[in-house]
Structure formats: structure tokens, C-alpha cells
């Protein structure tokens, strides 16, 4: 990512003064991403909608939960207008995994969003995506269900559901040229999502370049490091000092934590306003931001397969380091000898040190 302070280079491109966000939470979801979003304070969704963040276009948010509309067809009006090509530009946000309608024989649906005006029958989520995604200026997947399929796409699921990029194709590009922007997390870490949305909006305003994404289309600056790299229990790992059960404040790799190989910043950032998190507060990392979640991480409470080897290798090194650190720790737990009440100053004071 390149950022130049005060640059007007990006601003030179034609940005939008106003943009609509069409948010559909009718994927297979628990709506936990919407709930998480309301926990964000940096910035809050109110801040964005009320125009308190500089450099953004005016934002018209259309979300079932947050909508000022009259509901029913009144609520659906902007979605219908967008599907007809009469509402531009808009950002499409999808929450929840996308079911496979093709495995249904005959009529029926796994999930719907309003009714089809012609038939009066439920209108499937899939038909909405088919109509809206090609017209969207940007497409954002909120949460692990929408990004990679998540919990509802686990082995044995009856709905054949998948992530949005699986559905649209990983090579999909929205009108802005951006691929699907994936913000994983089960649920999204509140600030991670708002920060990404704000960057996309700044890009829409022409005040920022496109957000840098990795090969799984995740924002690089949020998902570029592992849980372990930000974990305040990581030092225990380095010293081969492992928790044997959940009573311990030590590294939890042997009781199921996947932190060393999971891309996520939560231990560093906390859950909300710096409070909470996962391994940093006694929860094992179950890999909920990852494409292979949940199957690759189950059973969650067992040691990850690679953990045995790596914790074995770190053992002799860790034990030595721990012993040496123990000695040093002991030393630094004693006061220096010059702190006394004798009639002599032994602190090393030298009044003529400048000379």
C-alpha cells in the first residue's frame, strides 16, 4: 500500500458525491455481522451515515435493520430500482452464505428476500444477487459466511451453500474494477469492517486508491499477520510453556488454539474498544476468519495437528530460554545495592561527568 501525506493524486480521479449502500443480510447468516457492526465506535455506523467522516460521499444506507423506510415494497424500492438499472452508483453488501438453489428439485427456496412481484412467491437471494452484482459499483462480503461460506457451509450441510466469490466467480469484477472485497470474521470484528467500508467509500469519493487486498481478497493491513503475532500469550510459546487446560494464562496451542497459523488481528486490536478478544483473554483461536473454517479446525478443543511437532521442536530451545529468563527475571526482581541508608553514596554519582 502506498500512502502519501497530503497527496491529491487520488482525488484527481472522478469520484462520486453520493452513493447508496444496498445491504442484504438474507444470506444464510445469523445477522451477527450487522449486530457486530453496531458495536463499532471507530468509526460508528452513525458517524458514516450522518456525514461525520471527512472524504466520504454522502451515504444512503439501505439495510433491513437500519432502514427508515415503510417496509415491504417500500423498503424494497431501491433494490428494485437498482435491479432495473435506475439507481447508480451503489455498493452491494452481502451478509450470510449463498445457498445452492440448483440442488432443489421443483419449487422452493433456502432463503428469500421479499416476494417476487409477478408470482407473489418468495424471491430468492440468488436471483437478487444475479440482478444486482453486475450493476454494483463495488461488492463487499461481510463476515465469514459471505466471504468463504463459513459455518453453514460445513461438511454435511444440506443447502450446498458457499461464499459470494465462489458464487460469482473469484475473477468477478464489479464496475469499479474491484473484485469482491472480503471482510471475514465470525462475526466481523466491528472496527475491521467499518474501516474497510470507509476505505471503499473513500475510493468511491475519489479520495483514496482502492484498498489493498490479498489473494483471498482480504484487506492486507487487517489480515496480513497471524493471531500469534499479536497475542499477548505468544511469549509463553517461545518459552515452550504451554497451558494444559483452560485454567492457565499460558499459551493455549496444546488445548486447541490455532493462533500461529490464522490470519487475524483480534488479539492485538481487542474485540471492541480494546476490550476482549480470543487467546489473549482465554479463548482458543478456532480460525473463524479463515477460508477453511470451520472444518479444518475441528474438533476445536484438540491440539492442532501441526502443533505437536512445532511445540516439540520449540521445547529444548524454549526450556533453555525460559531458564535463562528465569535467572534474569530473578535478577531484575532485586533492588540495586546502592539503595541503602548508610553514610556513604554508592550509586555511582559523579558530579564532574561533563569534564
Amino acid at each position: 500500500m502506498t500512502t502519501q501525506s497530503g497527496t491529491t493524486e487520488a482525488k484527481a480521479s472522478n469520484g462520486f458525491d453520493e452513493i447508496t449502500i444496498l445491504w442484504i443480510s438474507e444470506g444464510m447468516s445469523c445477522d451477527g455481522d450487522t449486530v457486530s457492526l453496531t458495536a463499532a465506535g471507530q468509526p460508528s455506523i452513525e458517524d458514516v451515515v450522518l456525514g461525520l467522516i471527512p472524504g466520504l460521499p454522502k451515504v444512503n444506507l439501505v439495510n433491513k435493520v437500519l432502514s427508515p423506510s415503510l417496509g415491504g415494497e417500500d423498503f424494497l424500492a431501491p433494490y428494485r430500482a437498482a435491479a432495473r438499472g435506475e439507481l447508480e452508483p451503489f455498493i452491494l453488501v452481502i451478509e450470510g452464505s449463498i445457498p445452492n438453489q440448483n440442488i432443489i428439485e421443483g419449487d422452493g427456496y433456502w432463503t428469500s428476500f421479499g416476494n417476487d412481484p409477478d408470482t407473489g412467491e418468495p424471491q430468492t437471494l440468488n436471483s437478487w444477487i444475479d440482478q444486482l452484482a453486475p450493476r454494483a459499483w463495488a461488492v463487499v462480503a461481510a463476515g465469514t459466511c459471505a466471504t468463504f461460506g463459513g459455518i453453514h457451509a460445513m461438511a454435511g450441510n444440506p443447502t450446498g451453500c458457499m461464499g459470494l466469490a465462489d458464487y460469482l466467480g473469484w475473477e468477478f469484477k464489479s464496475r469499479s474494477g474491484l473484485p469482491v472485497v472480503n471482510v471475514p470474521g465470525c462475526p466481523i470484528q466491528p472496527e475491521n469492517f467499518m474501516e474497510t467500508l470507509v476505505w471503499v467509500l473513500q475510493h468511491a469519493a475519489g479520495t483514496a486508491p482502492p484498498p489493498p487486498l490479498d489473494h483471498m481478497l482480504r484487506p492486507q493491513w487487517l489480515f496480513g499477520k497471524t493471531v500469534h503475532e499479536g497475542c499477548d500469550r505468544a511469549a509463553y510459546y517461545e518459552q515452550a510453556d504451554f497451558a494444559k487446560d483452560y485454567n492457565s494464562p499460558k499459551c493455549q496451542v496444546k488445548v486447541g488454539c490455532w493462533g500461529p497459523v490464522v490470519n487475524c488481528n483480534v488479539p492485538k486490536r481487542g474485540w471492541m474498544a480494546g476490550v476482549g478478544g480470543c487467546p489473549n483473554v482465554g479463548g482458543i483461536c478456532i480460525g473463524c476468519t479463515m477460508p477453511s473454517f470451520p472444518d479444518a479446525f475441528m474438533p476445536f478443543m484438540d491440539e492442532p495437528p501441526g502443533g505437536t511437532l512445532s511445540t516439540l521442536l520449540v521445547k529444548p530451545y524454549g526450556a533453555v530460554v525460559r531458564r535463562l529468563r528465569g535467572l534474569t527475571n530473578d535478577m531484575v526482581n532485586h533492588e540495586p545495592k546502592w539503595r541503602h541508608n548508610k553514610r556513604r553514596l554508592t550509586s555511582g554519582y559523579d558530579p564532574h561527568w561533563r569534564a
Partner: protein, 597 residues
């Protein structure tokens, strides 16, 4: 089965209009409400409640490691995921025969208390109260607003608003003072939650056998200091709500009929007593009754039972209007409970979920929700119990049993007494909730802020006990266990909006069957195989309409107030929704609906 008595006298020829609200805004999940309204007689004559989402938890959990159940089932709900994790852990602890250390129970209780305070606050003040705010009342009953402007708020000395209309203004979305403060409170109380359970919505530190939360003095001090910052807000909320709901009865005579049902309430109990609970099925009645919210089934105002074993054995999952195959001809997983009592084929332990996607047909199958019912052993009825939106059933059940007696909360004769300590501005305050005359929309809503106070008061007790243990050096929070080859378990808890149970069958150390029953299937269920409507349907069907608008500009506020009073599984809402229905057909039929029910 509609329980509201028909207003037979002086009826005009019916003028029936089909009205639907789908999607309903400000709710989680895909809920649609389809009604027929008789505008001539101003009442709802028919209601169908439908859900159009299937995900299949009980299907894809099969064959998985049972210890994963809490992590997976959290994801059922994006607002009360922790209630699922907790309930799953209760069920697993029974199956594994493990009793978590007492401190873990306190930490779990503190997490759940924070969840109740957070969730009820954001729901009541940012969603429910929008239906009672100045802008909404002006748009639906302008005469009532004019009267509110002339009516002094009786509890103004507590909440600081002079008239009832001033309170309504404070609830206006975005601009209203209380509305904005409630959003802030919802963030502070979520921080309290994260201190105990790691993350909100899907907790990270909850395990069968206990918790991983590091118990340190600051763990509890950080919680306590936040709780004390919101304690006065809670006292004010109770006073404001009482003023507004009392005013509605007064300003709109007959409003008690709105959303009124026969008293058919279920509560599965919350807040384990760490000194009593051992998670054994055989002793479940004892430790169930020791919970700090007492379980109970209440029929027509009488307590039928507060035994969790009776409650468990009475559970029936019915089909009738749902998109599933029946399982009556499958092999049962559990023929008898651990005490030798027979277990019904329609019990969650024996359920098999086979989805059959199909067209929506209001004369046939129209919902992905099944119909949980409770079999009343004395009358043989399959009762469509509701949860009263959560708090109504919890307070009612606790009051009738009269078992809770703590320093801050006490079940009294016909009510609950709750004492909150001195806050920044308001003195120590004792609140008293009384069992109401009706199970209706206003009483469901009124119970909610009282339960916020209840949860805050219980949190104070849990904090004192946890701090005491910690300071005496007792810091154990997790107990190890083995997953048995074969076992069954059940967990009973209260999600924020009502009853929650998890039923688990283990074979070969794997999940053979798992069925979670959250409150929304109880409340939002469609007609069952006996034709009995679910509680939303029943409460809306037959209710009078007080809104002054006619069919052309009808907003449906009375109907939406009723549906929302049950707390349909909702996340946070920040805007107003006025549920104007789309008129599908207009039918003039003098006989339609006359015989309805």
C-alpha cells in the same frame, strides 16, 4: 384457538383487506406477517407468520465431536449467540457428567447478565420504543399525542421528563436523547460482556467444563465500574416505560386487547446457583428450582410446574405447516429418560430434520419454522406456549414460584422486588414488578426494563461472590472431563427473548442427534398439525386496531407493536420503521371472518 373474545355486538358488514409486511424491517431473520384486516370493524381477522430461511444446524452437526457443539450453535443467532453456547455447555455437562468450578458459574452468570442488559436495552429503546415515539404516535394517533402533551409524567422526578409527550420525543430515532443514550449504553454493556466471555456475539472463552476467562481482580472491577455507570439509566428506563404504558391504557381504552393471548407462558430458568447445580438429570428438579430465575409453565395464570424434568418430558415438536418431512416412522434415539420415563417420538431427543423446499402455501405449508408445543399432562392439550418476549414469562414464573430470595432480588407475593444501589445521581431504589392482569403487548414490553434491573441486581450479587472467591485464592475456572461413548444431555436456559433448550444424543463419542430450540420457533411458529396457530399469529389475530389511518395509508402500528413485543430475534435498529402494508386485494365480504377462530 384465537383467545381474544370476539366483539360480537354492533358489528358492521366486514370490509376485509389483505395486508402483508415482508420483509419486516428491524428484525433478524426473514419474518413475514400476512394478515386480513376488517377495516369496518377495525380488527385483524387472520394472521399468518412465515419464515423463509433454512440453514440446517441439526443436520450438519451430526457426526461431529460433541465438544464442538457450543462453538457451532453460537452461530445460530447473531444477537444471543452466547445464550446458545451457554445452553449447549449445560447440555454437554449433563452428558459428560462434569460440574464446572463455582467461579466459572459466576463468570457465566455475569456474562449472561451483561447480555440481558445489553440486548433488552437496545431492543426496547432503539426498536420497540420507536413504535411509541412522538413521530410514530403523531403519524398513527394524533389525538393521543395531543393528550400526551397535556399529561404530566407521574415519575418525572426520576427520569426528568415533564410530560408523557416529552418522553415520547426522547425516543425519536436519532434525535431523541434516550435513543442516543441507549446506543451508548449498548456499547458499555457489551464491553462488560466481553470481559466475561471474550467476544460479542460469538463468545471465545466458553467451554463445556467451565470458562477460559482469566479470573483476576481487574476482570471483575472493570465489569463493576461499567455496571455502575449504567445503573441510573436503568432506574430511569423503568420509570419512563411505566409512565408511557400506563398512559396508553388511559388514552386508548381497550388497548389491553392489543396482542392479548390466553396466559400460556414458558420459562426455562436462568442463572445457575453454583452451590446447588450438579448437571445430573436425576437432580434436575432441585437445581432447576435453585436457579436465580425460576423455570415454570404458566397456564391461565396458574403455575402448572416448575420441575425441569416435567418441562423436558412435555416438549413436542409438531409439523403441520412447515417445510419438513415427518420423522414418526424413524427409529427413536431415546425411548426413556435416565429416570425411566418414556420419551415421546415428537420430543427433540428423537427429532430428525429432513428439509423439503417447496412453494409457500398459506392453506398448506408456509414456513421453515416448526411448531414446538408443550404437552399438558392434566388436560392433554398441546399448548402453544409463548415466552412473553422473555421477561414477562421470567418474572411471572419467578414470582409465582416464590423461591428467589437474594439481597437484591426477592420474589414476593404476586411480584418481584428489585433493589438497585445508589448511582451517580439517583439514590438506592427499590422497584416492584407486579403480576399483570393480562398477557398482552404492553405488559410484554413493560416487563423488559424490569428485567434489565433484575439482571443488573443479580450481577451485583455474582460480582460480590466471585470477588470473594478470588480474594480467598480460589481461582479455578475449568474442570476436565472425558467424552463418553454413549450419553444424552439436555440444557435449559433463557435466551434474551425467552426459552432455550438444547438436546443432545452422543453415540460412539460423536453427535448422533442435536436439536436446539430457541424462543423464536416457539413464538413465530405456524399452525401445527392440530391447526393451532403460533403465538404471533394468535396474538395478532383478533386484535383490535386503534390506528386512525384507513387502508390507504395504514401503517399497522398496533400489529407491529404486538409482533415486536415478543422480541422477534432482532439486532440493533437505528431508524424508524412504519409498517405500511401493501394492499393485495380488497374484498367486501359480510360473512368472512365472522366465524373466525
Amino acid at each position: 384457538m384465537t383467545t381474544t373474545e370476539s366483539r360480537a355486538t354492533g358489528r358492521k358488514p366486514a370490509q376485509i383487506v389483505d395486508m402483508s409486511w415482508d420483509p419486516i424491517t428491524r428484525i433478524i431473520g426473514n419474518l413475514g406477517i400476512y394478515t386480513k384486516i376488517d377495516f369496518a370493524n377495525r380488527e385483524v381477522v387472520e394472521c399468518h407468520s412465515t419464515s423463509s430461511l433454512f440453514r440446517g444446524y441439526s443436520v450438519f452437526m451430526k457426526g461431529k465431536d460433541p465438544r464442538d457443539a457450543g462453538f457451532i450453535t453460537s452461530r445460530i443467532c447473531g444477537i444471543c449467540g452466547d445464550n446458545h453456547t451457554t445452553c449447549s455447555n449445560y447440555a454437554q455437562q449433563m452428558a459428560y457428567g462434569v460440574k464446572p468450578p463455582k467461579l466459572a458459574e459466576h463468570i457465566t452468570n455475569l456474562g449472561e447478565a451483561a447480555e440481558y442488559i445489553f440486548d433488552h436495552t437496545i431492543f426496547q429503546d432503539n426498536l420497540v420504543f420507536v413504535d411509541f415515539c412522538e413521530a410514530m404516535v403523531k403519524a398513527t394517533n394524533p389525538g393521543v399525542l395531543a393528550r400526551a402533551e397535556r399529561t404530566d409524567a407521574p415519575r418525572g422526578d426520576v427520569h426528568g421528563y415533564r410530560t408523557v409527550a416529552d418522553i415520547m420525543k426522547a425516543f425519536n430515532p436519532f434525535e431523541g436523547e434516550v435513543y442516543k443514550e441507549a446506543l451508548k449504553v449498548s456499547r458499555i454493556t457489551r464491553e462488560m460482556f466481553c470481559l466475561m466471555e471474550g467476544r460479542h456475539v460469538h463468545p471465545s472463552t466458553m467451554y463445556p467444563g467451565g470458562v477460559g476467562t482469566m479470573p483476576q481482580p481487574n476482570t471483575f472491577t472493570d465489569y463493576l465500574s461499567r455496571l455502575m455507570r449504567v445503573i441510573d439509566f436503568i432506574k430511569k428506563a423503568v420509570a419512563m416505560n411505566d409512565d408511557v404504558f400506563d398512559f396508553f391504557y388511559e388514552a386508548l381504552p381497550g388497548y389491553e386487547e392489543v396482542g392479548k393471548r390466553r396466559v400460556l407462558l414458558g420459562c426455562w430458568g436462568a442463572f445457575q446457583n453454583p452451590d446447588v447445580v450438579d448437571y445430573r438429570y436425576a437432580t434436575m428438579n432441585e437445581w432447576g428450582r435453585a436457579m436465580y430465575v425460576t423455570p415454570g409453565v404458566i397456564v391461565d395464570g396458574e403455575l402448572v410446574t416448575n420441575n425441569l424434568i416435567d418441562i423436558n418430558l412435555g416438549l413436542r415438536i409438531m409439523l403441520g405447516s412447515s417445510f419438513y418431512e415427518d420423522w414418526v416412522n424413524e427409529q427413536p434415539f431415546v425411548t426413556h429418560d435416565p429416570l425411566g420415563n418414556p420419551v415421546d417420538m415428537r420430543h427433540p431427543w428423537n427429532q430428525t430434520t429432513v428439509p423439503v423446499p417447496q412453494k409457500r402455501d398459506f392453506d398448506g405449508n408456509y414456513s421453515w419454522v416448526m411448531s414446538p408445543r408443550w404437552y399438558h399432562p392434566q388436560t392433554g392439550e398441546h399448548l402453544a406456549l409463548d415466552t412473553g418476549g422473555g421477561p414477562l414469562a421470567r418474572l411471572w414464573s419467578t414470582a409465582l414460584s416464590g423461591l428467589v430470595d437474594t439481597p437484591y432480588v426477592k420474589a414476593t407475593d404476586g411480584g418481584i422486588r428489585i433493589t438497585l444501589p445508589k448511582g451517580e445521581k439517583l439514590p438506592e431504589t427499590t422497584l416492584e414488578w407486579r403480576i399483570p392482569k393480562w398477557s398482552n403487548t404492553l405488559e410484554r414490553d413493560r416487563a423488559r426494563p424490569y428485567f434489565i434491573a433484575y439482571a443488573a441486581a443479580m450481577a451485583l450479587q455474582f460480582l460480590e461472590e466471585a470477588m470473594g472467591m478470588l480474594k480467598s485464592g480460589d481461582t479455578k475456572v475449568f474442570e476436565n472431563f472425558e467424552v463418553p461413548d454413549e450419553a444424552i444431555g439436555c440444557g435449559f436456559h433463557e435466551a434474551v427473548r425467552g426459552v432455550l433448550s438444547h438436546h443432545l444424543v452422543i453415540r460412539d463419542k460423536k453427535i448422533a442427534n442435536y436439536h436446539p430450540y430457541p424462543p423464536t420457533p416457539w413464538n413465530a411458529s405456524p399452525r401445527d398439525l392440530h391447526g393451532t396457530p403460533g403465538p404471533y399469529e394468535d396474538a395478532v389475530q383478533g386484535q383490535p386496531i386503534f390506528e386512525e389511518n384507513g387502508p390507504d395509508d395504514f401503517k399497522g402500528v398496533d400489529i407491529m407493536r404486538t409482533v415486536r413485543s415478543f422480541d422477534p430475534c432482532l439486532p440493533c435498529g437505528v431508524h424508524m420503521y412504519m409498517g405500511k402494508g401493501k394492499t393485495l386485494t380488497t374484498v367486501h365480504s359480510p360473512t368472512y371472518g365472522a366465524n373466525h377462530g
